[in-house]
């Protein structure tokens, strides 16, 4: 489902009361802007015509007392705009006071995908499904560079920083699907680090958690997410461009190495292969192209990844032994 099918959109969809108020704020501000500028533009054009050299005009200009004029035309616009400062700051503060009953969703940004984990343990990549009518707090962190989780339909965004948690919260009140983006430039595929925010009723959300898309909890399920997020499949999935051994069913099998030795693909082998793929562990008939993931995959993700690889091994073995 696409968030919008319009060829040309002129106003963004708003999915929360805060979003609607932000729109009012910007509209009102625009009215003030026009009040402050249109007279100037009109005056300049008018003067340019009226006082054009050679035109008849009264050009007597005595010594105008400018101090009063100067002060008032600086002060009055300043005071007028301050209304918008206060309004904007108020909305901002509200968007910083997280309600106690907020549902906490964990988000991880990394080059170049978002990973979201629901409080019940399910997780999803890039897309995010959430209930309306319920305050939601997204607690987020980055695994590499600075990213920024941007939810335009809620008029909200927040940076994700390496090594430091940040958060944003909102309460949506309109169902539908909307876009979500990374808005802090984060390298090559920055512009592909986007997804869909699907806002659903509480009941639909509960049902969705039960059956639909999100990866069920458990080590192996989470491990599949890790597998995808590091792009392992780019080489190891069937049909991948780079020639690399298939990992399905690898666990527990004998592997012949390039130096002639044979080892059993046990848990230690899997871990070692991921962290230092090329240290005398190159499989026979393959080129040395796999990057080392030492210091790249954090330990808990590595656990999940190995669990996932083991699980594919188990199924493959069951199939292989009738």
């Amino acid at each position: 489902m696409n968030p919008t099918d319009l060829a040309l959109q002129l106003w963004p969809a708003a999915a929360s009361a805060t979003a609607v108020e932000t729109d009012w704020l910007i509209l009102a501000f625009t009215v003030l802007t026009l009040l402050l500028t249109v007279p100037v533009f009109v005056a300049i054009t008018w003067f340019a015509i009226r006082y054009r050299q050679g035109e008849e005009a009264d050009r007597s200009h005595g010594n105008v007392r400018s101090v009063l004029i100067e002060i008032s035309w600086m002060l009055i616009p300043f005071l007028l705009t301050l209304i918008f400062f206060v309004w904007g700051a108020r909305l901002f503060f509200i968007s910083k006071q997280v309600p106690g009953d907020a549902m906490v969703v964990e988000a991880i940004g990394r080059q170049w995908m978002w990973k979201f984990q629901h409080p019940t343990g399910q997780s999803e990549i890039n897309d995010l499904h959430l209930p309306i009518g319920q305050p939601i707090k997204i607690r987020m962190i980055s695994q590499d560079v600075i990213h920024n989780l941007y939810l335009p339909a809620l008029r909200m965004q927040m940076a994700t920083l390496p090594d430091r948690y940040t958060e944003l919260w909102f309460k949506a009140d309109r169902t539908g699907s909307y876009r979500l983006y990374c808005s802090e430039y984060c390298g090559t595929d920055h512009s592909k680090m986007d997804g869909t925010l699907t806002l659903m009723t509480q009941a639909d959300y509960a049902a969705w958690l039960q059956n639909a898309g999100a990866q069920q909890g458990g080590q192996a399920g989470a491990g599949r997410v890790v597998y995808e997020s590091y792009g392992c499949g780019a080489c190891h999935d069937p049909g991948a461009k780079v020639r690399a051994p298939s990992l399905a069913g690898l666990y527990g099998r004998e592997v012949r190495l390039a130096d002639g030795r044979t080892v059993t693909a046990d848990e230690t082998y899997l871990r070692d292969k991921i962290l230092n793929p090329n240290r005398q562990k190159l499989a026979a008939d393959y080129k040395q192209v796999m990057p080392a993931f030492r210091n790249v995959i954090p330990p808990d993700d590595l656990d999940r990844l190995v669990s996932y690889l083991k699980s594919t091994g188990a199924t493959a073995q069951q199939e292989a032994q009738p």
Partner: protein
């Protein structure tokens, strides 16, 4: 002493050893002809031309990469370039435009050329330092161009860490070295201007008789001196971290990436005023000349220049409202930003009041000035939107920001630069350009600019993030519109490059004061003599000494 009538007053200390080869009254362009006389000149006017040639070249590089970026964005699925190429293109565009065009533009060219003429001095206080600063500038540029030739940089002009230090596989270090070196050139220029304005004013040229152009350059120089060292240190730390893994910014080594943003914007927000104040200075010269009227609120405009330069040091945090900064800090930065933005934006009221009851000539410089006013106001006021916390949470890092800073930087700097170029072109080259062509260029640029950038405000509010190569299809229409506008804009920029160059050989000879303008620079022949003044300059009793009753007769070419 070659320029015989000059008496050696204290304000006319001659930093040159008088050169006997220069004939009496020879203008600075023809005083000497060798290549050496250009590349080793210490004449501020020739150095200004060295800068003019260099920054024009950089502008062309910046404009071509911008054109390619706009070309890529005509389609939403990123088919024109790879993501990597696209990222390098917008990075080069940003780096070159900000560091090698906008920041040096007006100060290094018109500032260098005009400040001594305007204050009645024979040169800047340190002519050799002035030449050195051009060499420093070119050395920095060489490094940055080397990084482009070697394969490019993809970090964005902001070089945020840890992307720039640990994750980018491109030529970050040469680019950083280049930008660091260019900073030293700014510092040298700033130092030279401050000392010159303090010590080399002609007798009678008191502070409140200085043209606003000089005031704004004084304020700009203070920013050069006080802010540039901060970015220099930040960039050196960045290089050290990338090269030697010293943990300053990267949390992997115990650093803090937000610290870099603080240091970066502590320089880069004031840098906005490095770009804007000189532009205000140029407009404050053009408007009175073409209205034949004293600048309205002269003292206020002068004070405002210094005031804005000071307050701009306290608003850097408005670039970090959504980067995990404390809420209290955000509120403080927000209200302080209002305090800078409003006075900047309402400066246009002064120019408007100056035009009132004037005797207006709508020649090219004035058309540029009027275009400037329109764009600058829109840029300044949308800055206020960004400074409003709740709005920033939505439009931060979207195309709204791109539109905003282009209105400010192109409106505030490029239009003022082009206006100034046409205004002082007769003085600089001794030749007139063809007026009709100038007017066409001003119209093309104004229209092209608005068609290019206005749609980006809407794109940003709709939620299109900046620096996106691939974007959702609903944004395509506005992107095509913007790219179409940029084509008009490009043609507009090409025009002056052609007819101005043409005028150097075929233009009518320019009189000393083609615009009936006031100011010491118009009292010397066009082009000025090598030592600026043939007779001792006499400061006017009041700045912008236009007759109280604006003249109604037509322009006189004397």
């Amino acid at each position: 002493m070659t320029s015989g009538t000059i008496t050696d007053g204290p304000a006319l200390r001659d930093p040159h050893t008088p050169d006997s080869r220069i004939g009496h009254g020879a203008d600075y362009l023809h005083a000497e002809h060798t290549l050496r006389s250009w590349f080793f000149t210490t004449d501020h006017k020739r150095i200004a031309l060295l800068y003019l040639a260099s920054i024009t070249a950089f502008f062309v590089i910046g404009a071509v990469t911008a054109g390619l970026v706009r070309l890529a964005l005509v389609v939403p699925d990123g088919q024109v370039f790879t993501n990597d190429t696209y990222n390098k293109l917008f990075t080069i565009h940003g780096v070159v435009m900000v560091w090698f065009f906008l920041i040096p533009s007006i100060p290094a060219t018109f500032g260098n050329f005009l400040i001594p003429l305007m204050i009645g001095a024979r040169d800047l206080a340190f002519p050799k330092l002035n030449l050195a600063s051009w060499y420093v500038f070119m050395t920095g540029a060489l490094f940055t161009l080397a990084s482009v030739v070697l394969g490019g940089v993809d970090t964005g002009w902001t070089f945020y860490t840890p992307l720039s230090t640990a994750f980018s596989n491109t030529w970050v270090v040469p680019a950083l070295i280049g930008v660091t070196i260019v900073g030293f050139s700014s510092i040298l220029t700033g130092l030279n201007f401050v000392v010159t304005i303090h010590t080399m004013r002609a007798p009678g040229m008191t502070w409140f008789r200085l043209p606003i152009f000089v005031w704004t350059h004084y304020a700009t120089s203070l920013i050069f001196l006080l802010a540039t060292p901060v970015i220099t240190v930040a960039l050196i730390l960045l290089i050290a971290e990338r090269a030697f893994h010293i943990g300053v910014f990267d949390p992997a080594y115990g650093g803090d990436p937000v610290l870099f943003q603080h240091l970066f914007w502590f320089y880069s927000h004031p840098a906005v005023y490095i770009m804007v104040l000189p532009g205000m200075g140029v407009i404050s010269e053009i408007v009175p000349a073409f209205a034949q009227k004293k600048l309205f609120g002269y003292k206020f405009v002068a004070y405002a220049a210094i005031g804005l330069a000071s307050v701009t040091f306290f608003v850097w945090g408005h670039h970090m409202f959504v980067n995990g900064q404390s809420d209290f800090a955000s509120v403080a930065f927000s209200v302080l930003s209002f305090a800078v933005a409003v006075p900047s934006a309402v400066k246009v009221y002064n120019w408007t009041a100056t035009i009132h009851k004037g005797s207006l000539k709508l020649d090219t410089p004035m058309l540029y000035a009027m275009g400037y006013i329109g764009l600058f106001v829109l840029g300044g006021l949308t800055g206020l939107y960004l400074a409003t916390l709740a709005i920033n949470q939505h439009v931060h890092a979207t195309y709204f920001v791109v539109a905003h800073f282009h209105y400010i930087m192109v409106g505030g700097t490029v239009l003022a630069f082009l206006g100034g170029l046409h205004f002082w072109w007769p003085k600089i080259t001794g030749r007139m350009y063809i007026e009709a062509w100038g007017r066409i260029s001003a119209f093309l640029i104004f229209i092209g600019f608005n068609v290019t950038f206005f749609p980006q405000f809407i794109l940003g509010y709709l939620g299109m993030p900046r620096r996106y190569h691939v974007y959702p299809p609903e944004f395509q229409f506005l992107n095509i519109l913007s790219s179409a506008g940029s084509t008009i804009l490009a043609v507009g920029y090409l025009f002056p490059m052609v007819y101005l160059v043409y005028s150097i050989w075929f233009g009518k000879r320019a009189p000393a004061n083609p615009w009936d303008a006031k100011g010491l620079e118009w009292t010397v022949p066009s082009p000025p003599p090598a030592h600026n003044f043939l007779t001792e300059p006499v400061a006017p009793k009041v700045p912008y000494d236009y007759p109280l009753q604006a003249r109604e007769t037509g322009r006189q070419h004397s």
